[in-house]
Subunit: 231 residues, 2 copies
């Protein structure tokens, strides 16, 4: 089923990105013609909350946080996004969130109308978009369960398991965290102190170690799974 294809040489399209899955070369070329490759430094906004929703992003390298801010200063990170992830497939008037890079980041930017118009011509692309929209909703439901039901330790373990699955280059031997403790806290509905203390307790239990504040090594994956999966 996984048809092989040749991406246009000038494009940096990632074959692993689900938006491009199973598209033949000529369709990939049309997609590629729509995209503009962009680059931002650390802590820059790809888009701001409440700005007109006219673009769709596809992360190529780096990492970013999808965040919702309130004027009272509180922040909820809705998702972390990594290479291959798509942002902005819903069709709303305005972005309901801001997207901020956590490190120097490159991404493809599609005009939303153009992408949707093309998807009307290319059934494969439309199918990929549908599946991605459904995937985002499913992941968001998982997060609702996490925020509503899980305890701090379970949240942290789930978070580590998420990174293992989705962060490129992460293995149980070494997870290199692109986000700060505050970012993690705002993602999990905790405070940075609780994040730190929970990690410290997991370290004290021998479940993991932290050679540096930015890198986590999991030693007892079984434990992490049983704490994070909550089945």
């Amino acid at each position: 089923m996984d048809r092989e294809f040749e991406a246009p040489a000038q494009s940096a399209f990632d074959r692993l990105c689900p938006l491009y899955r199973n598209l033949p070369a000529n369709e990939l070329a049309r997609l590629s013609a729509l995209a503009r490759l962009q680059r931002v430094a650390e802590q820059q906004y790809l888009c701001r909350q409440d700005s007109p929703h006219d673009r769709v992003f596809n992360l190529v390298t780096g990492a970013a946080a999808v965040e919702r801010l309130s004027s009272s200063g509180r922040r909820q990170i809705l998702a972390f996004v990594f290479p291959g992830d798509i942002i902005g497939l819903a069709n709303a008037d305005r972005f309901g969130y801001g997207v901020k890079s956590l490190m120097p980041t490159t991404f493809h930017e599609f005009p939303q109308r153009g992408l949707f118009a093309l998807s009307e011509e290319l059934p494969g692309l439309k199918s990929n978009i549908r599946q991605l929209q459904s995937l985002v909703l499913a992941l968001t439901f998982d997060q609702l369960y996490l925020l509503g039901q899980k305890k701090a330790q379970e949240k942290i373990c789930t978070f580590l398991l998420q990174l293992l699955e989705r962060l490129p280059g992460a293995s149980r031997d070494c997870i290199d965290l692109p986000m700060t403790r505050l970012d993690i806290a705002d993602y999990l509905g905790l405070t940075p102190e609780t994040v730190i203390r929970t990690l410290a307790r997991l370290r004290a239990s021998g479940i993991l170690s932290m050679p540096s504040p930015q890198s986590v090594c999991i030693h007892d994956m079984q434990q992490v799974r049983s704490l994070g999966d909550v089945h």
Copy 2:
């Protein structure tokens, strides 16, 4: 903009349901031909978590809870649904949630494939489906913020405001709650005791009163808004 239309006499389609917005009579008839009107008693499942996702529901009367269960016995209610609400527009293999009626409930049941196939023929229907999918995602993002950032009192006030907007027949003078304290707790990431105590404190402040456990009267809407909106 709101075109008037005549719904087929034999159909009970609600004009207020966004799925049917701006559809001409002949298209409504084709939709109606797809739907089967169903009826369930209280506490019955319209669909069960992990069962094949082959149907789409549209609540006509009653109320239901969209819930996710874990085998450890915990439960997160992802949403409450009321007349006019649509459930199951994502295209996944299986339902990621169960839908349980909170009272005797009637609903239209569409075959998922048939509905999507029809939407390929009717651009208006397709547009409505798109908008509904985006709306669900936006509401879910709101809920992520609520669960991650808001305190118990803010959660309760936001919940009351949600009911005022979405529960048919609700007014500030009287909200008739179709769900139990435990349902509310599982929706807001609290315990039933905390829900009760928070409501008791709001009552003690004179912000609201509760003539019976199932009915809430809001006396100080300004306060409820400033607590629930968190701006």
